[in-house]
Symmetry: C4
Subunit: 235 residues, 4 copies
């Protein structure tokens, strides 16, 4: 049975995928974005290994949340589809997921280090370090590998939806960043910011022993953009 | 009461804002430029959180210097508006202010280090290191945070307009660069140069223990572009 | 005697060459891609020192595999032609070769270090480190220098076609990367990936003592894209 | 008296200047290229402080080699004009000069270090390290500063035209690179290569203690592009 999702969702997912190479976050076909339709119980995701310059809305694949079955689309979905599905199931508040292999975020993942909070650029979006998972076990790699890639993120965050909302990004050890948000576009923006703060953090560390920013500064920045007292942006 | 500023000022502020992403100094909606009309007692600034690719002159917001009230425009002004206002009030000679989160300048801010003077590229524009402020206190963060962000710059420069003119840039600790100039365009150019010299300085430091350039070389470069004996450029 | 190759091959070689500057892998006229026609016993390669912005399919040069003689084309072939020829002769399974002086891969070559496997980005394509050759001897430099540049790669891989397929890239000491693949386009893609993983590796090393990724993770990534169990991509 | 130079020279100088920002070597109005007409005893150079996007052939300034007098053009020539003139007078074989503040070459200049020869990319063009001058003395800065900036290069090369031809680039301490060549275009290409090899060298040094490449490899690369046995390129 084919499940049809609103055109607006397909369009948002398409545009967020196309924004990845435009933002310099992807090499070749790397990277993927999805967006969920909670009511229909499905999400829409990029097909596997299709080059960005010939990607159209028609190529997107619709996948059922409950079991990962393809319910619309002619192509095979991204190999990372099961990771997206795992995150959607664990964190009910998220509406979009993005995965990239952006250079500096990958460097932290390869060094198996969190991206530390060194300034307001980070605190504007992420209320704490972007955490890096431990390694997947041989068993987690042997079967349901992609689902387990989501699993190590979910376990690291203790399946806590609030934590996922406060720091909408994680690094999978020796792999790279996954980010999420209220929708596909927001998850993409968090991927952009994750890479930007990773690069800034790396450059800061190059300048010598890191200096811890004061907690009151970070809190101020996070809360001016998030929560009931937020006053950033225009409707 | 609506205050109307000359179209030329709005145009200059618009163009300087649009030049930020074109120069690679901004991610997403980050960064903002303003320009002041001293006679009218107002300045024009980018609205908060509007994406650069749909920013028009109509979106700009006019703010009163004396109290920060919006006197023209439908949108909320940049969250950094009060920082701009503080700088305009403290330094009567400046006509434009730019704020970015450019990567290398932020790295120095996050390391809480001045950008040192290592060569003529720096000395051509900045007559001394680009200084980094101390941290804001908890009190400065708790109330009037954005105004106090300007305050720590003003205090660092001892409210000295001449010092502000000689080094038209500062780093706010764990935040990023603010630059200024005779107008909006000039303040933007100083943001570009601040980032360029920050990157050069970081690369130089990577090459080992820094070598101090001779004072006579730096003075020569600064004075050939500034002051009565300047001979750089064309009218 | 002129040997004519299929237009499709010439077109693929042309496009792969033009993709080099577009991908930021080349400065000026540096870099070259070739594609082979095993049946005709020839390969098609970029001419020497021609700038990318005026390169056309007509300029490509066809060279005989057995002796390196030019069998079609008005221009002199790339100075690296003999290196390509050596690789085609040693590794019967390869259909395309790319050479670049991309920055980070060259940095590893200049440091005479392999590009280590630090994560899945690397393991997705290369089943092991990208190895760096020893120096060419004075004799290898004195005569048939370009052919010997291929020779040191072939010797390092013990003339093993399987090894060449598992890690389709090598660094020539103090020179730079050569990559190969099933065709011209694939060899170019491997050049892109070689540069990307070199940059990621360098940034990871900047973050401190490297952490070895678990073998089971790397194997999983390599085998999901290669071999009988591969499930990445769309036909 | 106005001296008219061939249109082809003005066009080459214009294009070489416009190529500077296109190659990412310049910030704002920084950088300049000139080309000489030895017979007419003049050279053509970029005006001072004019932005690249409105630079036309009309804006170029013609300067007399013997005394630096402007003999054609309405604008003031580049402030670096006297440096160019000094190099033309000292090295009769050169036909073009380029000056930039490209990031990595400046980093070496600011660290007062030569760009070392670490591989064939360097040796293809520069037959030895790109040398960095000592500091200018207070006297050299006080009077005829720009001419003396050329003077320290000429002195470092012992006024040896052959040395200038073998390594057509130099770094002025705490300032940046000057490059030259048979004409304006060639001097620009050497500026591009100088920046590329500076970046590669810096990245190589990041990877640890540098490894010296064997002399026979470097010689081979230099001689295959230069001198009677050269076999690179097409006519």
């Amino acid at each position: 049975m084919t499940v049809t999702v609103p055109d607006a969702l397909r369009q948002e997912v398409l545009e967020a995928n196309l924004a990845i190479p435009a933002a310099g976050l992807a090499t070749l076909t790397w990277g993927n974005v999805s967006g969920v339709d909670r009511e229909a119980g499905v999400f829409v995701i990029k097909p596997s290994g299709v080059s960005y310059d010939r990607l159209t809305a028609r190529d997107l694949v619709t996948v059922r949340l409950s079991d990962g079955a393809v319910v619309d689309g002619d192509l095979r979905p991204s190999t990372d589809t099961e990771t997206h599905r795992c995150l959607y199931l664990a964190f009910p508040s998220i509406g979009g997921v993005t995965h990239t292999h952006s250079t500096h975020a990958v460097a932290f993942a390869q060094a198996r280090r969190d991206i530390p909070v060194l300034g307001t650029t980070h605190a504007d979006t992420f209320n704490g370090p972007v955490p890096c998972t431990p390694n997947l076990t041989p068993e987690q790699c042997a079967e349901d590998y992609e689902y387990n890639t989501g699993r190590v993120i979910v376990d690291m965050l203790a399946s806590d939806d609030d934590r996922a909302a406060e720091v909408p990004a994680a690094l999978v050890a020796h792999h790279g960043p996954f980010t999420w948000g209220s929708g596909a576009r927001k998850s993409f923006e968090h991927a952009v910011i994750c890479e930007a703060v990773a690069e800034m953090a790396l450059r800061t560390l190059e300048l010598g022993s890191p200096v811890t920013p004061p907690r009151h500064l970070l809190d101020r920045h996070y809360t001016r953009k998030h929560g009931p007292g937020a006053y950033y942006g225009n409707p």
